[in-house]
């Protein structure tokens, strides 16, 4: 019996060996990968994988799928960081230095050339007219204080490590920069509020009109001689208003994007936000430097408008004749003169 079984097994094995190649062919066809890694379609699924070069041809960064909630981690490689770095380290310090120092130099040259613009005295000298009320001055100084601290803490991001760090050492500078960052983030809020208030308070007096064109043609009160007509704000002041409104809005939008990183944009958006924020910030600082100059050192009598709020009537008549007339017509209690003097022309 046992011999019979052994014989049968041997017979079956021999039969299989003979019939094998044809009988097993369908089974082999079901396994698509051959020994050399090639499937029946001629592809090599193991070897033909994605690679960096191919993926960079398809997109400017390599992205995939991750199993953690942080979706920005799905970016495997983003070489755009190199452009951001190039801007921040090679261009930004030069842009910042040239624009801000250039403005300071220009103001210095202007001061040497033109000197302080002095008040012209008239029979109205000594009388005061209210130019900015308490709320307007509060809003102005709240925004101004925030702006100065925001500027210094903002410039610290560019120039701190180059100018301050070698002077005070890394530990002291680290602590200072930390507070600068906090102040930059927290003071951004009263600043944005101040810009919004100023916009609402003063927009009605800042709509450009024909008087501004004439004022600009006459060279304003700065370059030209005499005093072209101006209402509450002349064309130069309107320029400052619209600069603060426009740049303030741009700084707010880009700043908010950075305070809430990746809330609305991806990594390239974040890089762009910083480029825009820093360039506008620098131009904004230069513009405000000119505003500070003309409102304090550059012109006698101008500071009172934001200081006590009351300006000399002679100064107001010279610089904002249409506004003085309007104010006097509006309120009988305002400082009036008997016998309306003709506008200085």
């Amino acid at each position: 019996m046992r011999r019979a079984v052994t014989f049968l097994k041997t017979f079956l094995l021999a039969a299989m060996l003979v019939a094998g190649p044809t009988a097993l062919a369908p089974a082999l066809a079901q396994n698509p990968i051959q020994a050399d890694g090639v499937n029946p379609m001629g592809a090599r699924p193991t070897a033909d994988s994605v690679n960096e070069e191919f993926l960079f041809k398809q997109s400017d960064k390599i992205q995939g799928r991750i199993s953690i909630p942080d979706q920005k981690a799905a970016n495997l490689i983003q070489p755009q960081g190199r452009e951001y770095r190039n801007f921040r380290e090679s261009w930004l310090p030069w842009i910042g230095g040239l624009v801000i120092l250039g403005m300071i130099a220009a103001l210095g040259a202007f001061f040497l050339f033109r000197g302080r613009i002095m008040m012209e005295h008239s029979q109205e000298s000594g009388k005061k007219i209210l130019r900015f009320n308490a709320f307007e001055r509060f809003t102005h100084w709240m925004t101004a204080t925030c702006f100065i601290i925001l500027s210094l803490s903002g410039l610290n991001y560019i120039f701190g490590k180059r100018l301050l760090m070698p002077l005070i050492g890394p530990d002291a500078f680290g602590a200072l920069a930390q507070w600068a960052k906090y102040s930059h983030i927290y003071l951004a809020w009263p600043f944005m509020l101040g810009v919004a208030f100023m916009f609402v308070l003063w927009i009605k007096d800042n709509i450009p009109n024909k008087i501004d064109i004439a004022w600009l043609k006459a060279g304003g009160g700065l370059i030209g001689k005499g005093h072209p007509h101006a209402a509450r704000f002349n064309a130069g002041q309107k320029g400052v208003f619209w600069m603060v409104a426009g740049f303030g809005a741009a700084m707010s939008v880009t700043g908010l994007m950075m305070i809430f990183p990746f809330a609305l944009t991806d990594i390239n958006g974040m890089q762009l936000m910083q480029v825009v924020h820093s360039v506008i910030g620098i131009v904004f600082i230069a513009g405000i430097l000119a505003h500070i100059y003309i409102g304090s050192l550059g012109m006698e009598g101008a500071y009172d408008a934001m200081g006590s709020g009351k300006v000399d009537l002679a100064w107001a008549r010279a610089h904002h004749d249409l506004w003085v007339e309007q104010e006097q017509a509006r309120t009988a209690s305002g400082p009036q003169l008997k016998g309306h003097p003709a506008p200085a022309e």
């Binding site: 890694g37 699924p45 560019i158 680290g174 809330a263 910083q274």
Partner: protein, 198 residues
């Protein structure tokens, strides 16, 4: 001195995330911070590959260049480290980093970032080796113990290689020659301006 690098052999990586877990555990990395992660490319399609990625410890590191407080430094082993005492958490290094390595704990209001945290190549920070301060801020210092990063040591398929750049490049090269293919040293061109020539 060695020039320490990471190399992820994507043809071996099986996306088990053991490297991620090992890293988190070894350094007690807080919730929400991932010093290492695994990204799957071409997910579900032919040619799918997974790559384990962390700080690549770049040559001429972009993070160090853009840092406004110069808190980065490179060790003798070419590992890029930073000081959390100087870092202000501005987030610039994340914008400059090609690999998304810098991580920030969310502290305070308005999405304010805390001190940056990233892969230290298991070599601590500026504090004294094996000190409590070093461990609390940066995690353990395996390099000072003469060991390589745990992520690579743990890797079950030996996809993730850590060590001297020339040595791991040679190991990878041998593999590619033997098996006849390789999807390349991911990120090397970006991080080191060179790739593994085969």
């Amino acid at each position: 001195m060695a020039r320490m690098k990471f190399l992820c052999d994507a043809d071996r990586c099986i996306e088990c995330n053991a490297c991620v877990t090992a890293c988190k555990n070894e350094h007690e990395v807080p919730w929400g911070i991932n010093r290492r992660r695994v990204v799957t490319l071409n997910d579900g399609k032919p040619g799918e590959r997974s790559v384990s990625m962390a700080c690549m410890h770049c040559t001429d590191a972009p993070c160090a260049a853009v840092c406004p407080v110069n808190c980065f430094y490179t060790t003798a082993d070419a590992v890029v480290l930073h000081s959390k005492d100087i870092c202000i958490g501005c987030g610039y290094c994340f914008y400059a980093c090609p690999f998304g390595a810098p991580q920030y704990p969310r502290v305070g209001n308005f999405g304010s970032r805390g001190k940056m945290d990233k892969c230290t190549y298991c070599s601590g920070g500026p504090e004294a080796d094996f000190s409590t301060a070093e461990y609390e801020k940066y995690g353990s210092n395996r390099l000072a113990e003469g060991k390589l990063p745990l992520c690579a040591e743990m890797c079950s398929t030996k996809a993730l290689l850590a060590g001297d750049g020339e040595m791991i490049a040679e190991i990878y090269k041998q593999r590619v020659i033997k098996r006849g293919y390789g999807s390349g040293a991911w990120g090397w061109k970006t991080a080191y301006r060179e790739t593994v020539a085969i």
